[in-house]
Symmetry: C2
Subunit: 212 residues, 2 copies
C-alpha cells in the first residue's frame, strides 16, 4: 500500500484508497456518528454512512457486521475520549494535590458530559439498567477511586467505605449533570464547582460535636 504524504487532503470526490486502515476506520466512524446525531440511528442506513465517508459498502462490512456493532464501537470510543479528557485535566494538577485532583475530576466530568451528552445518549440508549455492571462505567469509576485512594494514602481523607463514596460521586455527578442539561444552563462551571464542594464534604471529617 502506498502511503500518502501527511497533511495532503484528498478532494471530496476522490476515493482515498491509500489511507492507512486506522484513519479510514476513524473517518467511517465519524461519518456514522455525524449522521446518527443529525438523522437519528434508525433513519440512518449503511448506504448513508458509506456515502458520507466516501468508501465502498464492503469497507463498512469489513469492520462491522451491522449498525449495532458500529454503535458499540462508537460507545467504546466515546468512553475512551471521555476518560482521556478527564485524565488530561487531572494531570494538570500538582501530583500531591488530591483535593485539587478530585475537584478537577468532577469539573471535567460535568463539562465533558454537558459538551457530549448528545453522543452519550445515542451510544448508551440501551445500556441503562439492563447492563448495571457495564465496563465503561467501571473504567470511569476506577479513575475516580484512584484519586480517592491517593488522598487516603496521603492521610488527607479517611472515608469508611471508599468504594461507596466513589459510587455516590460517580452517580451523583452524572445525575446532577442530567439536571443541568435539562435546564439548558449556558455556563455549567458554577454548578460544577458547587457539585465539587458538596462531594468534597463526603471525604472530609465532620466537625466534632455535630449531629449526624
Amino acid at each position: 500500500m502506498q502511503a500518502k504524504p501527511s497533511g495532503t487532503k484528498s478532494p471530496a470526490n476522490h476515493r482515498p484508497r491509500t489511507k492507512p486502515a486506522d484513519v479510514r476506520l476513524n473517518e467511517l466512524m465519524n461519518a456514522a456518528e455525524a449522521l446518527f446525531l443529525e438523522k437519528g440511528v434508525d433513519a440512518t442506513t449503511i448506504s448513508d454512512i458509506v456515502d458520507a465517508a466516501d468508501v465502498a459498502k464492503g469497507t463498512f462490512y469489513h469492520y462491522f457486521p451491522s449498525k449495532n456493532e458500529m454503535l458499540a464501537a462508537l460507545g467504546s470510543r466515546y468512553t475512551e475520549h471521555f476518560l482521556a479528557r478527564v485524565e488530561q485535566a487531572v494531570g494538570s494538577c500538582a501530583e500531591d494535590d488530591w483535593a485539587g485532583r478530585l475537584r478537577t475530576w468532577i469539573r471535567a466530568n460535568v463539562e465533558t458530559y454537558v459538551d457530549t451528552y448528545r453522543i452519550h445518549d445515542i451510544v448508551y440508549t440501551n445500556h441503562h439498567h439492563h447492563d448495571r455492571s457495564n465496563q465503561d462505567k467501571n473504567a470511569i469509576l476506577k479513575q475516580l477511586l484512584g484519586i480517592i485512594e491517593g488522598g487516603i494514602s496521603a492521610g488527607l481523607w479517611a472515608p469508611e467505605h471508599p468504594r461507596v463514596v466513589a459510587l455516590l460521586i460517580y452517580s451523583g455527578v452524572h445525575g446532577a449533570t442530567d439536571d443541568v442539561i435539562a435546564a439548558q444552563t449556558n455556563n455549567c462551571t458554577p454548578f460544577a464547582d458547587s457539585v465539587a464542594d458538596a462531594c468534597l464534604h463526603m471525604l472530609t471529617k465532620p466537625a466534632s460535636g455535630q449531629s449526624r
Copy 2:
C-alpha cells in the same frame, strides 16, 4: 349495579362484573404487570392481559388505548407506591430528628429499589436521559429536599446549595444501588447504612483546618 358483600371472593372461573371500577382497574394492572415481569413487555399481548385478569377485551380498551398507555400507568403507580413506602418509613421517625429522617429516607430508597427494580426496569426502560426532566424524579427529589430544608430550618445543616446536595443524594443513591443490584447482594442494609453515612457528611460542616 348490585354491590357484592365485601370479603366475598369470586371463584376463578366467574367473571366478576359487579366489582367497583377501581378494583377492576387495579386487577387489570396487576395482571399486566405480572405478565410483563414473566414474559416481557413485547411478548405480552392485550389478549394475554385480559385473559389473566378475567375481563373482556373491551374493559382493557375502556381504560387504555394501547399497551403503551398501560405501561405509563404502571410507571405512575410504581412511583406512587415508591413514594408512599418511603414516606411511611420517614414518618416513623421523630418529627425533629432530621438526621434520622434523612438516614431513613436513604435506607428506604435503597431497600425499595432493591425490592422492586424489576418493575422499575420495565416501566422506565425508555425514560432514561430522553426525559431528563421527568415528573416522577421530581416528586422523589421534592420529598428529599423537604427533609434537607427541615434540617436547615432547625439549624442543623447549612449546605451552600441545598438543591445540588439533593440532586447528588438522589442520583448517588439510585446509582450506587444499581451497583448493589448488579452484585446480587443478599442483605443490602449494611450498604444502605454506609451510603447514608457518606451522604450525611455532605450536610455536616467539615472540621476546621481540614484541607478541601
